[in-house]
Structure formats: structure tokens, C-alpha cells
Symmetry: D3
Subunit: 317 residues, 6 copies
């Protein structure tokens, strides 16, 4: 089957391509000569590419988001980016033996394994109140956790990205409590596990972890406020100690650390401050690794908007 | 009885004073010559003054916050501010016929009247969901509303100040909907009535509207978050339409308008934006009137820290 | 005649269009194949659209700004925006019975009526100095006031927009003085009426309220400074009390409230502060209504640059 | 007479002082023991010192601002600053042969000479419009120019400081036009001569260049706006070319360069930009020289608030 | 000996004290009644206190910084802070068996042990270039490292504070490389070990880790620039690979991460970014622990200027 | 030969062009129809233009950066900018008598003359330490100084631009020391001569002063740090007085004046502050002259991003 596969990350200017891809976005448009054409974003687990089908087929409506198609076409550069001109296409059928997962960017670890890892950590918690609220929320959201990304764009915007983000943060948090015993492990762990849990309500994602948009409540309130409401609701239901619930809510509220990033209160307990650090560290390691992934030794990356427009250096030694 | 009363706003350098005042703060301290003395903040409805009692009496512990005392003393200037040296003092007794209200700064309108005014406005609401949640919250918090101030310091930091603030905002809001019909009256009114309601949980105030401090939850979450949780709880209890509850929560969340002032989300509906304006207008009229209250025509006030350090001008014409 | 009219707001991708439009901008350009073509911005009272005429006609120079033309063409999407390809065009003639006003965005009220409304308010002023200077300026600038917009882009950038902006502000200001008697009505009214008067000198607008550009003095000094000079000149001529003139000038100077928005002095009298609020409220109501005008219930607008990049929500309920 | 003089800059902790000083400020106050005392700021041309007279004399009202007095007293340190305790004092009389100028900080050049220097530069101007407006304004304000300081505090807050500031700027401006011929000398000179001229109307200064306060118009409009109005008035009277007057006004308007420093428009002509530079250079040389005047080699000054809180270094080599 | 010792942290208002303290600062001053007195800052390992000796003794000059004295006196509150009035004092003598270390705040670990810990880590480095430069610098600065603090005020301003800061950072860095293998351990360790090394040249500290002031070069260049020059010098001497030296210099240059905090370049390699994080984490844990050390459960600390003025919460649970 | 030359600044839309240009950048690309084409940036001493050669020739690889070519083609506007469609091209040959300098933007003065001018100024220095270090650095870098630009883009990005920038600054600095004798001439001159010297190491420029990119060290450390290291190295080698070397390094470090512009320390000696001013003045005169060079009288330039987005005015008078 690999005969019929060209990974998007390997596509080059001038190449002829015959391969399968998943449709990320599809639209029917009108060209300046008044003819219809199709405009696609195609994806596989290695990347994305824009594609055009200049003769709009009669069954255009069947080529929709989430479908895997087989195409034949050729590649050129348009405004500095690669573009795929499709000559032939069809939907994949059962005989093609397509594994959807091959076409989706996913976290490097199995979601089920990551989930179990986190549940084990929860089981080790000493504080019963903190344990029961964390556990209940993780049990009730297992289904979404298995595929949710941690973001719409930027870091961890991949299937299972939310779990992966939380897992690495938790490992970091555990090390941190070894070096600094003043940090209370249960609080920090709980903060790590729940700080982004309401992303599940903030974003509208499909089973492949692709986010179509924010939900209305996500826009109007945001995952920080939604997370606080979630904790409040479970606290009442499970009769959690009021101060403990308040501190968990405070950790969620303050985990972006600065008002301009969405936290109206700054961290006022040491675990909230450390939660902010491990969150930032994990996002930064992820983003920097990504940005440097295709930079040659001795060269710099492009300017990175989300890192104050700096360039990164791939060192030679 | 006025023989025995000198309003604090009338006290002058060099004056001999015999009068009644309420104790706002009291502390026993040690002077540099190792003797004990008492340090007071005294108040009446016209202002506050620092006072010292250099010979600490045996019954020092009976002079506590909220008590009205009779004193005799003399006034001098210490570091630019008036200070009262107490020569004699005693607690007021029944025969003194003290009316506590004379010693407390209060809103210029009766709390009960303001409350009724607001309840009438609620009764006129057309949207049943919005009406029922607003009404329930106002009914359940009537007791505190009758005395709560709108702030610890700054604008409306007086007994009944919260109701007074809301009432004037509501009058302004009503006018605004007359000029701009695009603004939905029920939403704006609801926003006005509930935007600061959780100040009741944010601050720890006594029956005279004096705020001792913020509550822990007030510090760690703040009245904006507390208000959202309150609305969420009542919405569930009263089965309010989800979108409506979400919009009310959004108005509360965004009413400070900017992240650096505590609103992680900016107003996204027109009523939220207008709520922000009427809130600011009322606070500004209050603060500017206060600041100019003792400035002579043709003169400027001192620099005002909370208004970007500007001075205000008392015009002559 | 409506047979020959397609409102720009109704134009869709793929549509054939035969209609009249006013030319907002016209230019003759050379294509990459070295042929000449015409590039238009066409407008009617519902919006604007870009249009191309690929074969440059011999009478190209007759198609100029402000002319109404009849065109036949077809619509496609180019870089995300609708574009009209013109196949045929001619200037409108007398027989077409064109009413220029149909092609221009105008305020929803008659300019003459708004002007009279404002003159009546001026006549009711109690302070003779303030009345005479305001009245003289309004009488001397009546001609321009009847068509001037309030801005080049953004809020009230429509024919009669300046009067409309002032009228709604004045209504709001009147209500405000009812709620807050401490605000002196004559000063606030005068501030409202004159705060933007020098836009007439800042911008170069034609009889339809279309602004071609800022004037050199508009660029180099700006309407705030120009307004102060105007008030100074009339004050001398009409022998206005010096302090009153100074306060009117101060209101103009400070009405943008913050240095970075053009006011080197912040409001130092309460009327100047309130002028700033009613100015902002009116602009915000206008802009928010515009931004939401074509957003479906339950949906969000695009990000709005002039409102700190936020999106607005069209609520369902 | 030097027997009876101790320069303030030479006064030390513990010293007995018999000397003449000018009263800069005087006030009668009440001590905590209810007795009256006098609180002075005394000055001579080398500095200022706080002084107390604990027994308030009967003729206290005769010791007022601007008077030169003879005192005997002793010096101690109070809260980190030197303080003079006065034991005896009297007003100076004719026999004392007091020269007021000895008690006032003045520019190092004669005011009349500086004024003539500037008038000569004006006479050399080639552009008749610019020459006539600059000359008229300098002739009409000669009296105030001879004593006005350039500021209330900070740089050039000395008698004749405004002329001194302008003269040094003009010398710098002349050099600048030699290096950069693209800069038009007449415009730059005019900008230098008039940029701060309205400080005369902004501040209320006495004949010794001591500023008591800003004037109301100074507060409400500021010398930049006042300067523009002044130029406008003279332009009309002298029939100056409109564009030239506009450019002079623009130079005044933009000479602080940034909105947050009072210029709502940034410099848009090269002479306006250069005016800003020579203004800043002269102020900075003055302030840095002052700040380093009593710092020993190898030492740093205190932090300087007006220079972004930096310290300055007195180098050894 | 404990009979003669009252730890400063235990001193209370009104107490009689007989104890030994180290002189941190001493000055002879003149009181307002013209008599001399001595003003001290006294310290022990638990804190500092201001002290006055009203009768200046003949041997005043012998009471200098770094000496341990025995005093008898009494305590009162002056302007909100405890003050010690000394009645009797003498220098400690040999018979007092004073251990200087008891009077100095020191890191909780032995300096020699921390130094060995770090040298062992250096020995484990795989990259020979990085190992040799780090080792040489640590060997050549061992003497100062054993007592140097990490700051003049703020975090780790204690004897041995620099080593303590580096050691905890190194432990954290090691954990970090376990979680994130993409981080190169040698670079990160080298960055940790050398990032603040030039504090030794930036500050002028005595053998007890007390910093008198910054050095001139410390003021004019700062430890970041000084550190780069140090690495450059050792790189040349030891013939270190150019790119490696450049990267070490870059880590030092960028470790404050933002220009306004002293790093003109932001981190461009992942190890530089992580260095910034572990530096901040260690400082924050230190400062937060300090700030909360005397706050009761359920209470908040004072506002903390260096943490954006926030208060910290001592939780009850 | 001028028959075959069309200066780029004179090229117009629609023109046929036959001329020689230097290749600034060249690339082979694939069009959407899968054919190869060449994409050029061509330059002469008057400007730059984009050019396309749609039929990629067999000898495409010979058309490289720095070569002068003869072309025939035609001009059109593409996305608002002129574009040259090449019909024929060939490399220039000896017979064409090409003078490379005609195709490169250069400073208006001869590099050798400017260099001599500066060396003469160095020879006049009184301070032997400062003279020897400045002289040695200028002698050792003469070769690069003769062609290096002062920037990659922006001001003085021309061949010899660095020398031209330094020369004009030095003239200005000399005048400045005449007006303000407090400024030490040797320090200021040294600062001017060395402030940007390490641009030679920061940027990778060819013999025509064209900068391809920053060097890795330029990116990671920047010319300010590189300059300090250069001075440090020469100081050691030449045995320069330590304080003097430190001050020269401080001038380099602080010459951008503000942290956000790359100076972690602000100027702390007067010469450092003045260095910042003359640097800014020269850059600003250069940029403003450039920006206004093709603006008609009475018109404004486009918005200029590097000058806070302002427009400049070309005055009529």
C-alpha cells in the first residue's frame, strides 16, 4: 500500500503525486472565469497541504471533512507555499484498507495508556477530598479525554494532545515536588489534572481531535471560568471541603498567571504559581521542538509570532 | 445635644473639642518611653480623624470598634493631618440618646426605598427567565443589600452604597434604552442589578457598611467569579434557559471591560458594553463630586491617584 | 426601476448582475499582459464592491468618482472577497431618473430636521455666553453640517453622520443631566455640539459626505486643535467670558480622554468627563450595531480590529 | 559682609549659623503641644533649606515670601535632611545692603545679553513671514522673558532659565544646520524661539523667576496649546502666510514628540523632529550636569526619577 | 549563653532585652537638640532591627560594621516598626565565645558540601569543551563562591546564597532533562552553573555575604555582560570550540528572557529557555516560602512589591 | 551607453525597457502549470525591481547574485508594485564596459576619504589610551569599513553606509562639544567611532555592501555585545586603563538607550547619553530625507512603520 502513499511532509515542488489523504476542509468556489472549482485542505499525520480541483465534479458534495480520498495530481509553488493540483480523485473504499489514524496527527503515546497513567496518579493521592473530585471528573470525561487536543492551533493541537500535555506536566510536577518539598503534591497534581479540563467545553472537536471552532460558551466565558464552574458543581455534589474546592478553583483561575492572558487573579499559593510554570514549560518545549524540527544545523527558524517574534537556532555542536 | 457635638468635617487646628464619635479602629500601643497609649480612628457621618489617648486607661479593652464614645480633647496638626489628643473619654450610655446612624456615612436615600424601587423594576421585566433569577437573588440577599457598601474604599464606600450605586445605574440604563432601542432593556437591567451582587461575598462588612477586609474567597476568586457562580447556582435551581444564563454570566464577567481590570473577556454583546459604561459613569460622577466637594471656585483639587493622577478644577462661572 | 437594481448587500458568488452604482474610486491600470484595464470601487447605500473592466474603453476618463453608472457583469470570489467583472457599462443619463441619494450611505434622519433639533436645544440654553458662541458657530457652518460625516472610516462615516452623532449624543446627555443634577447642562450640551465641529476643517469631504482625505492642517494639527482655535476666534469676536471660553476649549481638548488618543490633557471638570462618555457610547452603539447587522443568531462576528480585536455575539434569545 | 553669610550649600550637620536668606515659603502652624510655630523654606543662590522657628513671634505675618531675613540658629538632621532651628531672626534693612540677586538662582548669563543675542538671530532670518511673527512675539514679551524660568521644577527652573534654555538650543540648532543642510534654518530657529514661549502664560512666576503654581489655563490647556493660540493670534494680526503659520504651530504642537508627553501629533517635518532633539539635548545636559555636580569621582549619584530612575557615574579618569 | 541571647525574630513591643548582635550598619548623627547619638542596624541569623544609642559614647568609632556587640535596652514601636533603645553596650570579647556564624543569615546547607556537589556534576559532563570551561571557572572562583549571596536584596541574599541557588536549580534541571530528553543536559547544566557567576564581580560583598554596594563595573555593565566577558576570556585561554562558547554566552545573555529585565536577546535555543525557567522557579519558591513564613493559616501576607503587588495566602487545609 | 540604460527609479507602468541591472537575488521556481520560471530582484544605484523570466533558460544557473545582466522586457503593475517581465537577457561582457559601482547604492562620499577624515580625528585625540584603542580597531578593520553598510535595511543600508553614518555623527558630535564644554570630546568621539563597529561581525555583507543575512553570532549576541568583546580584547592587548575601557564598553552597551531597543543599561555618563542623541539624529535625518525624496509639495508621504506609523509632510513654502 505504501506505493500509493506520499507523506505530505515529503512532497516537493514539481512532483507528481498519487496518494490517500484525509479532507480537513472542503469548499466549492467560483473562479474569475465563472467556473466552479473545489478548494481543499488535505492532511495526513505528517502535515497539511492546500489542493485545488479545477473541474468541479457532479458528486462534489460527497467530498467532506473527515473523509479519506485517493488523488492523483501535481505540485507547484503558489505564493511561497506548496499547492496540489488534483487531476483525479475518488473516495476511499473498504478495499483500500484505510486506517483513519494514519491521516491524523496524534500524540506519540496511546491515549488509553496515558489515561491509565493519570488515573494511577490520582489513586495515589493522600487527600481524600482532592482525590474524589479529580477522580470523578476524570471518570466522567474519559470519552472526550481520549481524543481531545489541548488547543485549536499552537501547542498540542493534535488528537490526544490534552492528555499528552497533562501527562508530561504531571511528570514534571512530580520531579518538582522532590526538589521542593514545600510544594504540596496533591494540590499541584490536582491543578495539573484539572487546569485545562474545560477545554472539552470550550472547543467543538470531532473524534479525530480536529477543532472546528470554539463553542459559544467557550467564547463568552472561556475554559478557565468553565473549569471553575465544573469544579464548583462537583464540589457540591461530592461534598468537598469548601476551602479545598476554593483553592482548586483558584489554581484554575490563576494558571495563566497574568490578567492579559486570561487570569484576573495572580497565583496566591505556591502550587498555583508552580502550576503556571509546568504548564508553560511543557508548551514551550513542545513548540520549540516543533519549530526546530526542520531547521538545518547552523541555521535559524523563521520568526515565531507566538514567541515574541524571535527566531530559534539549530546549533551545530 | 448639639452642644456636645462637633462634626469632624468642622474640626480645626488648635480647637478644643467635646463630642461623641464612633470608634472605627482602636489599638493599644507602646510609646518610645515604654508607656502604653491608645490609638484610635474615630468617625461620624461627616468624616474620620486620628486620635491618641496618651494615658492608657484600665478599661482600655472596652473601647472597641463600633462603640460610640464621648471625648474631650484638643486638636493639632501632625505630619500634615489633624490629630485629636484625648484628655477624657467614656463610653456613651443610654441617657446620651445616641443614634448610631449619626455616626456612619450613609447613602442619601433610604435603603428600604431603594430596594423597593429596584424590586419594582424587576417586576416590570418582560423576560420571565431573567426576571425570576434576578428576583430570587434580590429577595435572598435583601438583608445584606440594605447595608452593604459598593466598595472598601473609593466610590460608594458607605452604608447602603451598593444599592445606591445600582439604583443610579438603573436610572441611567433606563434613559439609555430610550435613546438606543437596540439595547435590550431586560438584559441591561439584569446586568446592572447583578454585576456587583457578589460584593456581598467578596467583602466582610458589618451592619454599618464598614468593610474590615476582603474574605479569603474574595481575595482568591473575586466578586466577578463569585457572581458567576451565584448565577449558575440559581440558574440550575430555577431552571433558567441556558443561553440566557450564559449571557448574564458573560455580562458579569466582562463588566470591567479590560483584562487588567479583572475581566478576562471583553463585552461581546451590546448590553454588556453598556453595562460597563453606566457602571463607570456612576462611579466617576460620585468620585468627582467627592473630590470637588471642598475645593474653592477657581482652584484645583489635589492630584487624584485613582483618576490617572489628574487634578480637578472647580470653575468660577 | 427595481428590475435594474441589485443592492450590493444582496450580491452573491456566481451571480449575473445588471444594475446602477455610484463610482467611489476609479483607476486605469496595466495588466501583466500589458493591456490596460479599469479598477473600480462601486457603491450604493447598502455597501461597496470592487469591480474590474478588463477591456479599457476609449472614454475611460469619463468614469469618475461621484458618477452613477449602469453595468452588466458577473460575480466571483477573489481572495476571499466578492469581485464584480464588468462586461458592459455606460454612464447613467437623465432618462434613468437616478436619485443620487440612493447610492450614498446616509444617516437615518433628515439633516435639516437634525439641524433644527440642535438649534432648538441651543435656544434653550440659559447661559448667554455659551449660547451665543455655540449658536454662531452652528449658524456659520450649517451648509457643511448638513452633509458632513463624523469620520473618514469607522463610526458615522456616512452623509449627515456628524449631525446624527451629535444629535444622539445630545439626547443621551440630556438624560444624563436628569439622573445627575450635578452636571451643568449648558456646558455638557456645548461640549457635545462643538467637540467634533472642526472635523469640517480636518477632512476634505464632498457633497455626499465622502471623505477623500484629511486636509494638511487636519494632518498636522487635527480637529481637536482646530476646534480650540475656532472657539478662540469666536470667543474674541463675540466677547465671551474668558473662563467660559477656556472651559469649552478644555472640553474639546480633553474629549478623547487619553493622551494616546489625542487628548494631551485629561478631563478636569465633570462635564468634560461626561462628554467623553457620551461620545464613546454613541460610537460604540453605532459600531456594534453595524458589526452585528449581518450575523445570524447563535453566531459570532469576525474579529473587530477597532474593538481590541474582539468578536461580537448575536444571541439567540 | 561675608562674615554674616553662610551659603546653604556649605551648611553641615551640627553647625551654628548666622546669615541672611530669602524666604521662599513661610507658614504658621500648631505643634502637638498646641503652641504655634513657623515653618520656612529659606533659599540663597546656592540652594534651599527647611527651617523652624519654635516660638512664633508677634510679627509673624511680616515674614513673607520674597523677603530677605537675617537669622541665627543651629543645624541638625531630621529624616535624612538638614534642618535649621532658628533662635533669632529679623527682616533685613537698608543698612544690610542686601542684593536680592544673591539669594536667587539665576542663569549664568545676563538676561539682557541673551535677549539681544536672540534678537540678532531673528534679524538674520531670511523668511520675512517667519521673522516678523517671531520678532513681534519676542518684543511683546521681553519683560517676562528677562526673568522667566523654563520650568517649575526640573531643568532650568531658575531666573532667566527660559532665555538660557532657548539660547543654548539655538546654538545647537545652528551647528545642526551646518552639518545637515536639508534642515531649513529659519523654521528650526523659529521653532526653538517659540516652542516654550507660552510657559509665560502657563506658569505664575514672580520677578525672581520663582513659580508659585500653574495658572488655571496652564493646567487646563497647557503651554503647547497656549503657544499655538498665541501664534494663531499674531499670524492673523501680522497677516502671515497660512502654511507657514500652520507649520510653526505644528512644530510647537509636536515638540514633545510623543502623545504621553503632551504632543498629540508627532513631528511630520524634519525641523519639528530636530526641534525635539535640541530641546531634549539641552534639558539633558543641564540635568545631568546638575545631578553630577556634587558626586565624587568613582561614585554614583542617587537614583534620578526623571531619568527612568537611573544613577549617573562620575568617572575617575 | 542562651540567657544572654534574644533572637531578633522573637523581640516584642515593650520587652527588655539583653543580648548579642552583629552590627550591620552604624552611624553617628545629631539630634534636633544638637546632641550626638548613634544609629544602628543590628542583625542575627533570624533578622534585623533598628537601634538607637542616645548618648554617644567616646569610643563610638569602635562600633563598626561586622562587629558583634552585647547590649541592654528596651523595645518600642516607632512608625509601625520595632525599635531598640540601647541603654548599655560593649564590644564582645573572647570570653563571650561568640560564633560569628550565629549572627549571619546563611544558606541551610554547608557551602563546602554544595561546592563539592556541583563539582561532581561538572565532572560527569560528557562534552569536554563545556566541562573544561565550567570547571576552570568554578575552581578559580571557589573562594568567593563559598560565601557569596545571589543578590543584594530579594531572593538568596544570604551567605552562601549563590551556591544554594545554583544547587537547587541544578537539581531541578536534572529532573527536567529526564522528562524532556530533547534538552541537552551539558548545555543546561553549564548555563545553570555560570548564569550568575559574575555576580561575584557585580557586587561588593564581605566574608559574611553582606553586600555593601554594586561595583562600578557592576553598575555600568552588569553581571550578564560581565559573565559573557568572563566566558570569552576563559574560552580563548582554554581554546574552547567557538560555537560552544557562543552558545554559553547566549545562555547567559538571554537568561533574564526579556529586554526590560536585562536580556537584550531572548532565548533562541531550548536550553536557554529552560535555564530561564529553572532560575525563575527557584527564586519564586524561595521568595514565596519567605513571604509566607510568618503568616497564620487562613490569613494573607502583605502585598509583595516584587510579585506584582499580590498577596499570598496561607491555606488552612 | 546611456541608450541602453533605464534607471529603475524612472521605470513606469506600461514601459518597454532595455537596460543593464545587477542581480540582487535570483531563484528558479515552478509555476502552477508546472513549468519552470526565474524570479529576480534586480537593482541599480537608484532602486530595485522584481522581474520574471517565464521561460527558464538552460543556463539559468549562471544568473546569480552580483552579476550584471542586460535585459529587454516590459513593465506592468502586480499587486500595487511595478514588475518587469523579461523577454530577453544575457550576462554583461567585457565589451559592455560595465562599472559595477553604477549598479550599487553607495554613500555620497568616497569611502577612502571618509576613512581618512576619521583617522585624522583619531590622531587629534588627547587621551592616549582612548586614541590607541580606537586607532588600532580602525586600522585592523579598514578593509571592511570601506564597503560595510550601517544596516541590513533602514537607514544607511548602502555601500560605505557605516563610514558615512559615523562621519556625520562625528561632525555633529564636534559641534556639540563646542556648545557644551562639559562633554568630554575624546570619550564622545570614541563612542561615535566604535558604537557600531561590530556590525562588521553581526552582518554578513559582500563587497558591494549588500547584506545577505545576520551571522549566527550576530543573531545570538548582537553587535552591542560583540562590540564590547572587541573592545575588551583590544584593551587587554594594548594595556588600556581599566576604567577607560569600562567606560567605552558602557557607551557601546547603552547607546540604544532603552532596554527594548537592545541596551540593558541606560547611559550613566553624559557622553553615553549624547552618543545616543547623535546616533538618533543622523538616522532620523537620513530616513526622513529618504521618505520625503519623492513626495510633492503640499503632499504627505505614506505611513512610515519605523517612525511610529506617522506620515511626513512636504511643505509648499
Amino acid at each position: 500500500m505504501d506505493m500509493d502513499r506520499v507523506y505530505i511532509e515529503n512532497i516537493e515542488d514539481g512532483q507528481k503525486v498519487v496518494s490517500y489523504y484525509m479532507i480537513k476542509q472542503a469548499a466549492i468556489k467560483t473562479a474569475s472565469n465563472n467556473t466552479k472549482f473545489m478548494d481543499f485542505t488535505l492532511m495526513d499525520k505528517t502535515g497539511e497541504i492546500n489542493a485545488k480541483l479545477w473541474d468541479c465534479p457532479e458528486d462534489a458534495e460527497t467530498y467532506i471533512e473527515g473523509k479519506v480520498i485517493k488523488i492523483a495530481g501535481s505540485v507547484s509553488i503558489f505564493k511561497g507555499a506548496l499547492q496540489l493540483k488534483i487531476n483525479k480523485l475518488r473516495l476511499s473504499s473498504e478495499e483500500d484498507n484505510i486506517v483513519s489514524m494514519d491521516y491524523v496527527k496524534t500524540a506519540p503515546l496511546e491515549s488509553e495508556d496515558m489515561y491509565q497513567f493519570l488515573m494511577n496518579k490520582i489513586d495515589e493521592m493522600a487527600d481524600e477530598d482532592i482525590k474524589k473530585i479529580t477522580k470523578a471528573i476524570y471518570e466522567d470525561h474519559k470519552e472526550q479525554l481520549l481524543y481531545f487536543p489541548a488547543a485549536m492551533k499552537n501547542h498540542h493541537a493534535i488528537m490526544g494532545g490534552l492528555l499528552y500535555h497533562v501527562k508530561r506536566m504531571l511528570e514534571m510536577a512530580e520531579k518538582m515536588t522532590e526538589v521542593y518539598p514545600v510544594i504540596r503534591k496533591d494540590y499541584l497534581f490536582c491543578g495539573v489534572l484539572l487546569h485545562d479540563i474545560a477545554k472539552i467545553y470550550e472547543m467543538d472537536a470531532n473524534e479525530f481531535g480536529l477543532v472546528k471552532d470554539y463553542t459559544p460558551e467557550g467564547h463568552l466565558l472561556g475554559h478557565i471560568i468553565q473549569g471553575i464552574k465544573l469544579v464548583e458543581r462537583y464540589s457540591e455534589k461530592l461534598d468537598v471541603d469548601e476551602e479545598k474546592s476554593m483553592l482548586v478553583q483558584h489554581m484554575i483561575l490563576s494558571h495563566h498567571s497574568e490578567p492579559e492572558y486570561g487570569s484576573p487573579k495572580r497565583p496566591m499559593i505556591i502550587e498555583a504559581e508552580m502550576l503556571h510554570f509546568v504548564d508553560n514549560i511543557d508548551a514551550r518545549v513542545y513548540d520549540m521542538s516543533e519549530a526546530l524540527s526542520d531547521v538545518a544545523p547552523g541555521e535559524f527558524s523563521d520568526r515565531i509570532w507566538t514567541m515574541e517574534n524571535r527566531k530559534l537556532y539549530q546549533s551545530e555542536s
